[in-house]
Amino acid sequence: MGAMKNDTSETGADAMNETNETCEQDQSHQPMDVLEPYEWRHPTVVAGVRWKNPVGTASGTFQLDACGDYYDVAQMGAISTKGVSPVPWQGNPGPRTAESPAGMVNSVGLQNPGVDHYLIDELPRLKDLGATVVTNVAGHSDDDYEQVVAKLADSPADMLEINVSCPNVTHGGMSVGTDPVALGRLITHLRAMTGKPMIVKLSPNVTDIVEIAHAAVDAGADALSLINTLVGMRFDIRTGKPILANRTGGVSGPAIFPIALSFVWRVRQAIPDVPIIGIGGIDSGEKALEYLYAGANAVEVGAAALTDPTSPMRVARELDDLLDARPELATKLAEGQTW
């Protein structure tokens, strides 16, 4: 590690019209000690599973061996693991990440050691630590997804999250999640294989997310999580070539927050009853709260965890404080309902 490589040549705009950022939270930059003992006051319920609080980690941004060094994973509402495939996946070649304005583009491509390793390593360790575990399921084909779900059906995982929305794999992933017929067929098969609460993670890279959401729910999904990353890319202006070896990747971070929020709101308007986990650009309790007002039962923190390992815990604590002043919303969440 010598000269740093993360710097790119653009400068970003600094000024913003203030929205919510200054309203209620203590803005004195008093440090929050996320390690002190804490009693959560506002749980939520997602597809029958009680979360200690409405904040989880987003898949792809959590590794127990990295994040578990910084906070007690049992204190999160839920831990959504990195995508688990039937066999070990090497993922995409590097470079796999590039900064973008208020965000980043990644093309990791679901590198993971496979479901057999997951079942004897990360999953039992997470459960021993007391975490509520959402196991993210990845595949290149219907058969891949079925192999993973078959092995997870009797596992101690609390929920399954079917990843039909990764933009960084050539088969499966987003290609399933953008076709309502293919998605309905896959979820119908998986539904028949397990009684575990099953979340389907949706892609924003579609013409009509409501149509996809209906297909998932009609096929038996217990809940929806949205959104996965938006397709994006960066070029290196010295070489004239894309920065990412995979050329395109998925955009995450604060830049996608209002976009993701509108997706959640649209799906909630169309499907009043399905549990929804809102994901995209959350780096504060206020932003998490906006998702709850848009109709989410819970949220997940992704890219913000990459800029501060403790941010998922900090967001959860900030949201717990904000919900104190919103008893009606807090009561609904605790009863498995939404705003």
Binding site: K5, G12, Q63, R96, E99, D308, T310
Partner: protein, 278 residues
């Protein structure tokens, strides 16, 4: 300066104590800039007050610095060059908007920090440690020299630094090195220097160990040089990183064992791990 959207997890005064009490590593926190100066053309030195890093960092480990500009979310990782008391010295080159922002720091400013991160050099053996650095790969080797200096086991430090033009680190390594060699681009590269000292290195009773940091092509050449002579080499890689602490799996290097994370499995790898020797 725009305010940061992140509320720091700790201030460094209490960080070490709290992390130790909870059995955890401290998260991102706000440090005070103790000193900032220009070392050469586009090269800057930054000293931050961080007792936790100062007391725990080992050579080749790095720290993440974060821009105060909320549009630049990814960390800027820098190898630690020196530790003095509770103060940590970083040396970096301005290569983009983030490092440009850092170059304007003055004493008393605040900067967000995470670390120390990554796997350090293995300095367990009694050896003649040959520190082979290129450009801004040199600073992390300064901390290795500092750590090895005056060790009771009689280990030696030989620096072999290659610079673009200004020899900005020779004076910085001299207090800790038994021998200082350097070369600038117009005269040659570090492999030329290694060739020139091969006789004294190979003939000596103290076995040589190479520690290297610099541009990847340089380190590949150093790995090949070391391998041909049966000299063990540890290489500290650089990569485009996402998080820097092992969560995102973005900064991988292809090895015979598969794709490994530069930030957490490394940045230090042996020639054997990388398969670079052959």
């Amino acid at each position: 300066m725009p305010t940061n959207t992140f509320i720091p997890t700790f201030t460094t005064g209490s960080v070490e104590l709290r992390a130790a009490q909870a059995g955890r590593k401290p998260g991102r926190r706000t440090d005070e800039v103790v000193a900032a100066s220009r070392l050469g053309d586009g090269i800057y030195e930054l000293v931050v007050h961080d007792p936790y890093v100062a007391r725990t960092v080992r050579p080749a480990q790095f720290v993440n610095l974060y821009s105060a500009n909320a549009t630049m979310v990814l960390p800027r990782p820098f190898g630690v060059a020196k530790v003095e008391g509770d103060d940590v010295t970083l040396i970096y080159q301005v290569v983009g908007a983030g490092t440009e922002e850092f170059s304007h720091f003055r004493a008393g400013d605040a900067v967000d920090v995470l670390g120390p991160l990554g796997k350090p050099f293995d300095l367990a053996k009694r050896a003649n440690y040959i520190l082979v650095g290129g450009g801004l790969g040199v600073p992390p080797l300064l901390l290795a020299a500092q750590a090895l200096h005056g060790r009771a086991d009689g280990s030696k430090v030989t620096s072999v630094f290659g610079y673009r033009d200004e020899r900005f680190a020779d004076d910085l390594v001299r207090p800790y090195a038994d021998e200082v060699h350097s070369i600038t681009n117009e005269r040659g590269n570090v492999v030329d220097l290694l060739d020139s000292i091969e006789g004294e290195v190979s003939g000596a009773p103290l076995p040589p160990v190479i520690l290297s940091c610099g541009p990847t092509p340089m380190m590949r050449a150093v790995a090949a040089w070391a391998c041909q002579r049966g000299i063990p080499a540890q290489l500290s890689l650089e990569a485009r990183m996402g998080c820097g602490y092992g969560a995102c799996v973005a900064c991988v290097v292809d090895t015979p064992q598969g794709r490994l994370k530069v930030c957490k499995d490394g940045p230090v790898f042996t020639t054997e791990q990388l398969g670079w020797g052959a």
